[in-house]
Symmetry: C2
Subunit: 329 residues, 2 copies
């Protein structure tokens, strides 16, 4: 039976949404159990009796806060993040989920659980909404300076995740660039283009809009650009929402219009709401690690846990190791 280790204290809003999300997940999927790592006296009252036998609590006081540095995380062996990672390292749990300090989770996972053979740098992947589905983008923040070889590893890891965990059929991989032609790109991306040519389903360069129009299934970039793209997408969606709202206020007729369009806006919100996608997997470490948003609500946590389960049930890490060896230049 799959067992998920959860950093139960790390999120911006304390343990409530985390445990609530876990309960939602346990209700829907009867095939897993969880170890919640955190302050027992805070966690216990949040767990209904009905679920007490499927949630083990590992009692610990120390919580790495968002203002702490990621490097400190390695020294604080009693922290919720450290203990939860150790459960995965020792094999007592099969996957790790945290809405806490993402840098701490990344460092701990990389250094304590360890990298998959052949992976130089783990990468964070995230799903972006398109009109008819989603695009997996990586790296979105783990590595700000990347060379061409790193980008190639991201391409391979993304493709395996899309296929084995997201169950996409023959996912297409694109390299994020400033134009589609092979001649486009900066120094690093041009070199990465050449390295990626032996990966099946590598379609070459793609542009920023390709991420959202669904022409490609996996888009590869360095973590600096990935973060900027993610924040840009959030910013544009927010701004459009605000402009609509500001204009609405000006007329009763448009408010009536908005009421009639409620369902349309609701569908739109579902599409662009990160909570629907759960968390972001850290690909390249030896066990599934899901980094959830600090502001995750119960739905986001539930979906992050489902991601962890799906990854733990897949052959993800074996296939990544095999493919990196296979497509080595």
């Amino acid at each position: 039976m799959i067992k998920i280790a959860i950093d139960a204290m790390g999120g911006d809003n304390g343990p409530s949404p985390i445990i609530e999300g876990l309960i939602l997940a346990l209700k829907k999927d009867k095939t897993f159990t969880a170890i919640a790592v955190g302050k027992k006296n805070e966690l216990l009252p949040l767990i209904p009796n009905k679920f007490i036998d499927r949630i083990e609590i590992l009692d610990t006081d120390d919580v790495i806060s968002m203002s702490d540095s990621a490097t400190d995380a390695l020294k604080r062996k009693d922290s919720t993040a450290y203990k939860a990672i150790e459960l995965v390292k020792s094999g007592d749990a099969h996957a790790y989920v945290s809405a806490g300090h993402s840098g701490a989770s990344m460092s701990l996972a990389t250094l304590r659980i360890g990298r998959i053979k052949g992976v130089s740098r783990p990468a964070i992947a995230t799903l972006m909404p398109t009109v008819n589905g989603t695009t997996l983008v990586l790296d979105v923040g783990a590595n700000v300076d990347c060379d061409a070889k790193h980008l190639k590893e991201f391409a391979i890891m993304g493709q395996v995740y899309a296929e084995d965990v997201l169950h996409m059929e023959s996912p297409l991989i694109g390299l994020l660039s400033n134009g589609e032609e092979e001649s486009k790109g900066n120094e690093v991306s041009k070199e990465a283009f050449k390295l990626c040519e032996n990966i099946p389903n590598f379609v070459g360069n793609v542009e920023g809009n390709d991420v959202f129009n669904g022409t490609t299934d996996v888009v590869v970039c360095d973590g600096f650009i990935g973060n900027i793209m993610l924040k840009t997408a959030e910013g544009v969606a927010d701004t459009i929402g605000k402009i609509i709202k500001n204009n609405l206020r000006r007329s009763l007729v448009s408010i009536l219009g908005a009421v009639l369009m409620r369902k349309v806006f609701k569908n739109l919100k579902l599409k662009v709401d990160y909570a629907e996608y759960g968390g972001a997997p850290l690909l390249g470490v030896k066990a599934p690690v899901i980094i959830a948003h600090g502001k995750s609500n119960a739905t986001a946590m539930k979906n992050a846990i489902f991601q962890a389960i799906a990854a733990a049930q897949s052959n993800l890490n074996i296939t990544i190791e095999e493919n990196i060896k296979l497509y080595k230049a």
Copy 2:
């Protein structure tokens, strides 16, 4: 009197929208004249008699097409772009506007008109919509690989353009990064942060969403990232539009809602429509050069021409030269 040199043939839709936009501009602003460079027999029928004395035609046949390489542009001395640039170089015109091959315009402007003293690399700047105004972003495509010194020059040029041409008061400059803290950034951006610290109104690192929420007036990045951000913003806006449309089709009630919200959507469209902003100035060359979108309609061309006039009437290039000298590290 200001005289604008216009590459009248270069756009995706031939000379019609270009001349139409020029006529709109001439109607609104009686203080300038234009030289339209292109095929006389195609241009002449597009010009109403009333405006014939304010539009000079420089007859030439060769047009650099979108599929030609930018380096060829320097050899094709009879092309519309080359001849229009030469008019500015010789002083017969004060500014250049083109909706043609942007790489050709950039190369010709940089090599024929020349760079401002102290500028290593000209940069393309563009306006992005925010809830209450606009943000100037540069570089959005002229330079894919930049070092820290280039980014500093972009910061100075952007600030001067915002102040002298866009008439923003004490515009704030931000450096695009993956987080606000000084410790965030990639190698180049961290070095650029240090170099920019002696520029007044430099606010440090900003994130992708800051471009759209209007916290900063000028945002600086390299042309690779700038292009990706631009395309990402277009992609997100398009996708949101399509999701709304697809959901609308499903119900009569929501169609009625959309009809009532027409004005809201119209205002939104105005906000995100590049045509309202005209073209993108190439900053750092010795005369105003405006690169318009290949698909520019008449409104976009009109606004691009107004940008050229505003730049030609300003002290833009003198102030850029002074400030680059002033803030040299």
